[in-house]
Point group: C2
Chain length 336, copies 2
DNA sequence: CTGAAAGCGCTTACAG
DNA sequence: CTGAAAGCGCTTACAG
């Protein structure tokens, strides 16, 4: 037996009222519209018994909105993004909004595709960790006056709300910690994408070195190609560590680089110990469980999510042209 | 300057044709409908120049579908689910479908809420890792003839497609491996939810013990309350290990229990070594990087995703009442 | 070869 | 206090 979803018309017929009346009741405008309590309770009873759920597609078409917020990230299975997604979903849910998320895999064109899809589905607002080269796509959202908040990566060309981390200071503190441990040959492993959020990490590293009278050494810097297969990264890093035996500390610019790096160290049997320090980016169980435990720069997921959601709802509420805001939060260095 | 999205009407007016004609062209029915090539190219030109994207909400309302598949899991930030989500998203994308995913957090009512939301948005098919007590909600989808595939957890009360893992054999192999290593006091750490996919893991453990003439010992079995805070689980497991010094092997029934267990072992300074073996569930970097490396039962994410997506598209294609299928895949024991 | 019109299920300004 | 009707942007059976 196949049940077909009921429509407002079915309910109206059954209750012997117009669909207008049913619509008012569904939307809590019954008292405002002076519907008699008798009618209200009769309709509500029928709705409850028959399990009617209004068709949101029809509603979206009519209203031009959807109560949906899109979250576009590079890879939702990255723990940083998965954590943010989960927190944002929870916070949005409390205010009656759904989050719909998807990964761009950093593929060119995927962001444009997703944004077009979401636009055509009347998505109300956008939370985006933008890849390089997506400026035009995001601009098109701004032109349509859609609420947008960028996070993680900033696009300087755009005048748009942003929530991020002070990566410069985070790297700076990490290197200062190494110096405190009397490290002399401090390496950095980063990724070869020239976005501000990554270059800031390098800049903080470099500034801390010079501030502490250490000469930056290009031999101790490696930039891993983005999207390089994990095995290749591990091999590359193993070579990097072996070529530089004097290295006594290494700062990893991202979570997955730290993991690949630790695997490489394990392969070449180089221990993390009193002669060799490591600081990872983005904390996780894997660092807590490592022997020895690995220190890490922790991004405050909850604060980031809060700021993002607040900016989104501010814009959703105001309806007018917004002044854009840049929120920069501090990271936390977890020492182990 | 605010741009409003164009409608099919705008394009029709600009091209001096009817909206019918534009619609046919958009949907690739131009030749079938004998639209003149002159008209086709004129309309296509305008569409390209003006960047028209058809309103999918209107289309959904009219067609009763959406080209969207819902994926409902307990927690999308769990690596198993995140991995499945990513693979399914990719496979669905190739066939022109979008995945929209969300977490139930195992909260009662959340599944019902999500299913109602998706129904009201004309979602075409459902992939669900069901929580206990969601039978009625899933049944309602079957009544509406919606394609549904369950995975991870099975609901015996329902006659529905399912893709899962042979957890009995997986546990059985794990314990057999312990026996091969001459372990005598083999413990199991599991979770107190009485769903088949969890109880099978226990059953395989128990059967392997008795098949190898080892007496099951209730002292060596612990069931962690579901949703218990991580700290409490760690403390509980630390106590469990300390109370049972004779224990020489432990099988963890889930990924997060293994992580909490390893943290507990670390806290009480009990080493994983030639006198104490560990096998975890669901492989990950954290086990590869642990010292020593931890063996794990690996669920074949790619096979699972393939089977799920195939079952979904089979149903989407057939439109008729389906015979339901149970696909049980083998897990793989990764020894380290 | 092309178009006018109905209808998908809602919301809301307007009328009474 | 309640309802008829227009309209959101599409698709498609029907007519010519």
């Amino acid at each position: 037996m196949s049940t077909k979803a009921l429509s407002i018309k079915d309910i109206a017929k059954k209750a012997n009222v117009s669909i207008t009346t049913v619509s008012f009741i569904i939307n809590g405008k019954a008292v405002e519209k002076n519907i008699s309590t008798a009618v209200i309770s009769r309709v509500e009873q029928i709705i409850k018994e028959d399990g009617f759920t209004p068709n949101q597609v029809a509603r979206s078409l009519r209203m031009g909105n959807s109560n949906i917020i899109a979250l576009i990230v590079e890879d939702i299975s990255n723990p940083f993004f998965a954590g943010i997604a989960r927190l944002i979903e929870e916070k949005a849910h409390k205010r009656g909004y759904k989050i719909i998320y998807s990964s761009t895999e950093n593929e060119p064109g995927r962001t444009k595709e997703l944004i077009n899809l979401y636009k055509s589905r009347q998505v109300d607002a956008y939370i985006i960790a933008p890849a390089e080269g997506t400026e035009a796509d995001i601009e098109s959202l701004l032109l349509e006056q859609k609420p947008v908040v960028l996070f993680d990566r900033y696009l300087p060309a755009l005048n748009v709300n942003y929530v991020g981390i002070d990566h410069f200071s985070a790297s700076y503190s990490a290197v200062s910690q190494f110096v405190k441990e009397k490290r002399q040959n401090i390496a950095m492993v980063t990724v070869n994408v020239e976005v501000q959020q990554i270059t800031n990490r390098y800049d903080g590293y470099r500034k801390a070195l010079t501030d502490h009278d250490l000469e930056p050494n290009d031999q101790l810097l490696v930039k891993i190609p983005f999207n390089q297969p994990k095995e290749d990264t591990i091999a590359q890093l193993a070579g990097f560590f072996e070529r530089n035996p004097e290295m006594d500390a290494v700062l990893f610019a991202t979570n997955y680089l730290a993991i690949s790096g630790l695997i490489a160290l394990k392969q070449i049997k180089k221990m993390v110990d009193k002669d060799f320090s490591v600081i990872a980016y983005d904390d996780g169980d894997v660092f807590k469980l490592h022997s020895p435990e690995i220190s890490a720069v922790e991004q405050p997921l909850n604060d980031i999510s809060d700021q993002i959601i607040n900016l989104i709802f501010e814009q959703l509420a105001s309806k007018t042209v917004q002044t854009t805001q840049q929120v920069i939060l501090p990271a936390k260095l977890i020492l182990r």
